[in-house]
């Protein structure tokens, strides 16, 4: 994920240096407001730890190996501000001392891995682990998920930075001046490896380190736990109902469901067989496919398989309703209700099985 010199245009590098500078400034200011003197050696040692951790080869399922970034455990122990500085310093030393990653692209690498990686890892960890005890197994899941999501978020940004180069920087004859692949190639090429290997490695190492700290040094997990020192989750007034924030989030998302009808055009690939038979439908398909003309007849496989199942509520809008937005909203409520009912049924079934499995 370390972008070397020469892959990104100077203007992209300058923009990402500016973005990274904002993160560095914010991180430094936050550290200065808290415990500056104590944080300096802690951040330095953590940067060194992250650097060494990147050299660990972790055996992964499938026989391959991967290495972690260390951004997740830094975010969990130091918080996002400390992590931004620690990982930036590790990346800077890699570039300035070991020649791994470029100098002109240092801002881009720090922006992707240190700043976005730290913020995404921290947010994911805090959301998933909200209200959990320090020693809870949910914190392992939260750390693993945070590592996976943060690594892939950073890789996605790098892929976008690669992918916009040929769109913005070509000479008169059409020769790409920097990274030569458009988004359609850069994103899958970058993401496959990170979704399958790098994200898994970061997730496993983060979860393993949190498990180790839970057993050996739980105090290190305290500062970003959201729990007051010495208090258990049950004592925290804001954590008495940890599910409340999830219900609020679901309600907000439900209210936002009609946003889907505001988007222009059709979702690429979500066409029915009848879309091909009308001129209007074919025009929509062509508009969504970079103006390549759609075939006049639906593909035979699509025709054959599309009749296998007919939805009771086609296109998220029951036929009896005239308002599409209201139909979207109702469909959203119905879908969420269905998922909740299925989850409750599964939970009841598992509890029943657990109860039946216990002796006496």
């Amino acid at each position: 994920m370390h972008i070397p010199d020469g892959y990104l245009s100077p203007s992209t590098c300058a923009a990402l240096y500016a973005g990274a500078a904002l993160g560095w400034y914010g991180g430094l200011q936050r550290i200065k407001r808290t415990l500056a003197t104590r944080m300096i050696p802690l951040i330095s040692v953590f940067a060194a730890f992250s650097f060494v951790l990147m050299m660990f080869n972790l055996p992964l399922p499938g026989g391959t190996t991967g290495h972690a970034l260390g951004v997740t455990i830094a975010s969990i122990v130091l918080g996002p501000a400390g992590s931004i500085l620690a990982i930036s310093i590790a990346i800077a030393i890699q570039a300035l001392f070991f020649g791994d990653g470029g100098i002109t692209t240092l801002g881009a690498n720090c922006f992707n891995m240190a700043i976005v990686g730290s913020l995404v890892a921290y947010a994911t960890y805090r959301i998933v682990a909200a209200g959990a005890e320090i020693t809870s197994r949910r914190r392992l899941l939260a750390a693993g998920l945070a590592g996976y999501v943060a690594t892939n978020a950073a890789a996605f940004l790098a892929a976008v930075e690669f992918g916009i180069q040929p769109m913005l920087f070509r000479d008169a004859s059409g020769v790409p001046q920097y990274a030569p692949y458009a988004l359609g190639v850069a994103i899958p090429a970058m993401m496959i490896g990170h979704l399958a290997i790098a994200g898994v490695a970061e997730g496993i190492i983060a979860a393993g380190l949190v498990a180790y700290l839970q057993a050996a040094d739980p105090a290190l997990l305290q500062s970003t736990s959201g729990l007051a020192p010495g208090a258990t989750a049950a004592c925290q007034p804001s954590m008495r109902h940890p599910q409340r924030r999830w219900w609020i989030a679901i309600a907000l998302l439900l209210l936002l469901t009609p946003l889907g009808v505001l988007t222009a055009g059709t979702a690429w690939g979500e066409w029915s067989a009848s879309s091909f038979s009308s001129a209007e439908g074919r025009a929509r398909i062509a508009a969504a496919s970079q103006n390549r003309p759609a075939p006049p007849v639906a593909p035979t496989g699509l025709q054959r398989l599309s009749s296998l199942w007919t939805s009771p509520v086609p296109a998220y809008a029951p036929p009896v309703l005239k308002s599409t937005s209201f139909g979207y909203f109702l469909s959203g409520m119905f879908g969420v209700g269905l998922v909740i009912m299925l989850s409750l049924a599964l939970q009841a079934y598992l509890q029943h099985r657990r109860g039946a499995g216990q002796p006496g």
Binding site: Y7, I43, A48, F51, N57, F97, G99, G102, L209, Y212
Partner: protein
């Protein structure tokens, strides 16, 4: 053998990093062209050339800058064999792998059809691949020259001279020092683990072992930071950091700076398409 592959690979990574650092320190102590210049001139000058490489659109200009970098390397007593092993071959391989599909994926005028016409190599694709390889090779060569010819402490002093915040410079200095300590500690942990490993472990056990080793290293790191903090406090550290900077520009430094900037400026001027 395969059961220890990950441990062996980790040991190789750690040893290679330490080895590279030793080579850098040795080259930086030699008497050569770059070593004779003020570190600030080296940082500004080589950064200007890297910027010129990324701003130039003509491959001929980038190749000329690459040749200039080779001459500077020879005059700075940097072995071309070590540059080839450390930079040119790895960059050629990795960037080549990335650039190769661009030959056929870049739309343009077909010039070659090795697979019978279905995926023709285009002129634009060829130019894009060559441009990318030349640009990355040259930029990484220039960066490596800076790294090889400048002791780390001088890089830090130069950063301080460019008004990088003191806290950041101190953290960079401390991190650099602890990287070697932690890398050595991690290497010893993996070596002792390898020497006591007899049976064959499954993947899950090996993952647990690696995570546990990382955990112990993390605990040692935090202990180390506490010890460092206490020793800093015992010496009266109150958060103010002063970095010694004894740089003094001489006439040859000014000449070197002007030469770098003129070379970079001319390359950008000629290299614009």
């Amino acid at each position: 053998m395969s059961r220890n592959r990950a441990i062996a690979a980790t040991l190789v990574s750690l040893t290679r990093a330490l080895g590279r650092a030793l080579i850098s320190e040795r080259v930086a102590r030699q008497r050569g062209l770059l070593q004779a210049l003020d570190p600030r001139v080296r940082v500004i000058g080589l950064f200007a050339l890297v910027l010129a490489v990324t701003l130039s659109d003509r491959i001929s200009v980038i190749v000329a800058l690459f040749c200039a970098a080779v001459v500077v390397a020879l005059l700075s007593k940097v072995s071309l064999a070590s540059l080839a092993a450390r930079v040119w071959l790895p960059v050629l391989f990795f960037t080549g792998v990335i650039a190769l599909p661009a030959l056929v994926l870049t739309p343009g005028e077909p010039i070659l059809a090795p697979t019978g016409g279905s995926f023709p190599v285009t002129a634009q694709g060829m130019s894009a691949a060559l441009l990318l390889i030349a640009r990355v090779e040259t930029a990484v060569t220039l960066t490596t020259l800076l790294i090889l010819c400048t002791p780390w402490m001088q890089v830090l002093q130069a950063l301080r001279a460019f008004h990088v915040p003191q806290d950041v410079v101190v953290m960079l200095a401390m991190t650099h020092r602890y990287i070697f300590l932690l890398a050595e500690t991690a290497g010893q942990m993996f070596e002792s683990r390898q020497s006591r490993t007899v049976g064959v472990f499954d993947g899950a056990t090996r993952r647990r072992m690696t995570a546990r080793t990382a955990g112990v290293l993390l605990s040692k790191s935090v202990e180390l930071s506490n010890e460092v903090f206490l020793s800093m406090q015992s010496r009266g550290f109150r958060g103010d950091v002063r970095v010694l900077s004894s740089f003094r520009m001489r006439s040859r430094d000014y000449i070197g700076l002007v030469a770098f900037l003129v070379a970079g400026g001319v390359a950008v001027w000629i290299g614009r398409s």
